[in-house]
């Protein structure tokens, strides 16, 4: 298919899929589906409800954090490194508030993420401070606050698991995956169809030009950090709901997993390029890949190495394919 697209432009709506800016995202989407179908055919008991659910649990938490992170990246501020500690604090808050019911606890954790995101957004967007270092500092401060708040201990939920933790809307489709889907759809519409999203993407393409053109660049930068904080907090709450525990280890590798998922999906680290559905595709790609390695009994270190290679191969392929077309 790729050779065809190189020799002659595809007709109609397909031509856009292989445009230089879109080719990596398209390839990853096709690869994800192909990989999943291949595994269904070759691995015994692969397409069972419980295995699909386990892929979706892994994808939902990382994916929601990656969607929030992507708004920071697309708006031109590279990435945030405070997602892991935000998720950890949110997991502790979720468990502490579990007496209020699932919705109350979820809203409480989200509020925490929004506040932390807002503060970082103000420091980066309004005070114009270095984006990366601000989030490293925030990560340290949030981890300190969370450790002080929890006394460094693991907090345990009372009572049985909730529908959010292990409930499924259909066999194989957990509620957490439904939430992931809703987050993706809402964020995709926000970024692609709203004035705010349009300003956010233009801020990432060319910050100076966006400002000169009178776009509300400061507002969208602050908003992007609020979304990142909310996404990380939601991921932490979902992990807490699954495991019934909240502690500082929740989200330990969330930062780099989310960055990897986003980059594999075809979001450009330099900003401006990429869509929220690409983030979802990248997340699913890595989740399916990890799951295939897991069911084939590959050791943890092999999974890590293949994940690293997948990032390199996806990025290399994306760079080469988009260059050939130029």
């Amino acid at each position: 298919m790729s050779t065809q697209s190189r020799s002659a432009p595809l007709p109609g709506p397909l031509s856009g899929l292989f445009a230089p800016a879109r080719v990596q995202a398209t390839v990853i989407q096709i690869a994800t589906v192909a990989m999943f179908l291949l595994a269904c055919l070759t691995v015994d008991n692969y397409a069972t409800a419980s295995n699909i659910a386990s892929i979706l649990y892994a994808a939902s938490t990382v994916g929601i954090a990656a969607v929030g992170l992507a708004s920071v990246t697309i708006s031109g501020n590279l990435f945030a490194l405070s997602l892991g500690s935000t998720a950890a604090f949110a997991s502790i808050i979720y468990i502490q508030l579990s007496g209020l019911g699932v919705i109350g606890a979820l809203l409480g954790s989200l509020a925490l993420g929004v506040v932390f995101g807002l503060i970082q957004g103000i420091v980066v967007g309004l005070l114009r401070c270095n984006a990366i270092i601000t989030t490293i500092a925030a990560s340290s401060l949030i981890a300190g606050l969370a450790t002080a708040f929890s006394g460094g201990r693991t907090v345990l939920a009372t009572g049985g698991p909730s529908w959010l933790g292990n409930g499924a809307i259909l066999p194989g489709i957990p509620w957490q995956a439904v939430i992931f889907l809703v987050v993706v759809v809402v964020a995709e519409l926000l970024l692609q169809r709203s004035r705010t999203g349009w300003e956010l993407r233009l801020r990432g393409t060319n910050p100076a030009a966006a400002e000169l053109a009178g776009l509300r660049t400061r507002r969208v930068v602050v908003l992007s950090y609020v979304l990142a904080g909310a996404g990380a907090a939601m991921a932490g709450a979902l992990i807490a709901a699954q495991s019934g525990t909240g502690n500082m280890r929740v989200g330990a590798d969330l930062d780099f997993s989310a960055i990897a998922a986003m980059l594999v999906g075809g979001v450009a680290i330099s900003g401006g390029r990429g869509r929220i559905i690409d983030v979802a595709a990248g997340t699913l790609f890595l989740a399916v890949l990890t799951n295939i390695l897991l069911v084939n009994n590959f050791a943890y270190e092999v999974q890590l190495m293949i994940k690293g290679l997948a990032v390199l191969v996806a990025v290399t392929a994306g760079a080469l394919l988009s260059r050939k077309k130029r």
Partner: protein
């Protein structure tokens, strides 16, 4: 001197922090200035300093090497695994591996023309998997006790072999950046890539050298750590990358490239080492340590950002 401080408030902040912390910790615990503590300060300076120096070089050339922390773990394991019978073989293998991975980072970044944040992230994940694989489920220990003892020697009762090597490397890199062609190319490539290319600077070799140096220094840090401790683990180097980035930026290195010098980085590293060493001495709890680390970075970032610029502008108006 004073005009320099006024132009660069971050430099003033670094010195103020260092002096204030030195005074506070000395008053709080007289052991702070004892030779034994200065020795251990030098040890932590060596570990963080080498990683930060390499990272700072990649930042100077306008790139960013995320793989330094994972390299520390891998090179320590290579050092001990291959250096069991002959330590030179282990050290050479660890350093060659570091330089090789650095070259890979540099070539990927140059050839693909994608951000080095992306290529080095892939390499970082790859290396952390490799470290767990090398470790094989248990920590690796070193039976060459003579070498470990030699590296735990103290000179003038405060200097360790590691800290001397690190200080010498900082000085060498500082001089090389100032007087060699390659050094000027690195700074030029980081300041304005296109202008540097047009004016005849060898940008490709500058970028490649910065990445090789970064891999090499991180590998050296890991190998020296493994020799000194007599053991290695895949968990060494966790958090080191973020600390190194903090130290580099606190030291005046700009993420946009071209700005900052190794001497500033050394002070940035020293600020973080003194903070953590002093807090450990006075028995601060872990939340306090995390909060203060975050607070120091936040102050640095604010002084460097718009609030610092407003201060400077309002003073200039007087």
């Amino acid at each position: 001197m004073f005009r320099q401080f006024a132009d660069n408030p971050l430099m003033l902040l670094r010195w103020l922090l260092l002096i204030a912390m030195g005074l506070i910790f000395t008053l709080a615990n007289s052991y702070f200035l004892a030779p034994g503590n200065l020795y251990s300060l030098g040890e932590s300076f060596s570990l963080l300093g080498l990683v930060a120096l390499g990272l700072a070089l990649t930042m100077l050339v306008g790139e960013f090497d995320l793989s330094g922390g994972a390299m520390v773990a891998v090179s320590g394991l290579i050092m001990l695994k291959l250096g069991e019978s002959n330590a030179f073989v282990g050290l050479a293998a660890a350093l060659a591996f570091g330089a090789g991975v650095g070259a890979l980072n540099g070539l990927l970044t140059l050839r693909l023309q994608v951000s080095s944040l992306v290529t080095t992230l892939g390499v970082m994940i790859l290396l952390s998997g490799f470290a767990v694989w090398l470790e094989g489920g248990q920590g690796v220990s070193f039976s060459n006790y003579d070498l470990t003892d030699a590296f735990n020697a103290s000179w003038l009762s405060v200097l360790s072999p590691r800290s001397v090597i690190t200080i010498a490397l900082f000085a060498a890199v500082g001089v090389a950046l100032a007087i060699t062609r390659l050094g000027r190319d690195i700074i030029a490539a980081g300041s304005h890539r296109k202008a540097a290319t047009m004016s005849g600077a060898n940008v490709a070799s500058a970028v490649l050298s910065a990445f090789i140096a970064s891999g090499l220094f991180a590998a050296l840090a890991g190998a020296l750590l493994a020799i000194t401790l007599g053991r290695a683990s895949s968990t060494f180097g966790a958090n080191l990358l973020l600390q190194a980035a903090s130290a580099a930026i606190l030291g005046g290195i700009a993420l946009s490239g071209g700005v900052g010098r190794p001497f500033g980085v050394a002070i940035g590293v020293l600020v973080l080492c003194v903070l953590n060493n002093g807090l450990g001495l006075i028995g601060a709890s872990s939340p306090v340590v995390m909060l203060l680390n975050g607070a120091v970075l936040l102050v640095a970032v604010l002084v460097d950002g718009a609030p610092g610029q407003w201060l400077r502008r309002s003073r200039a108006a007087h």
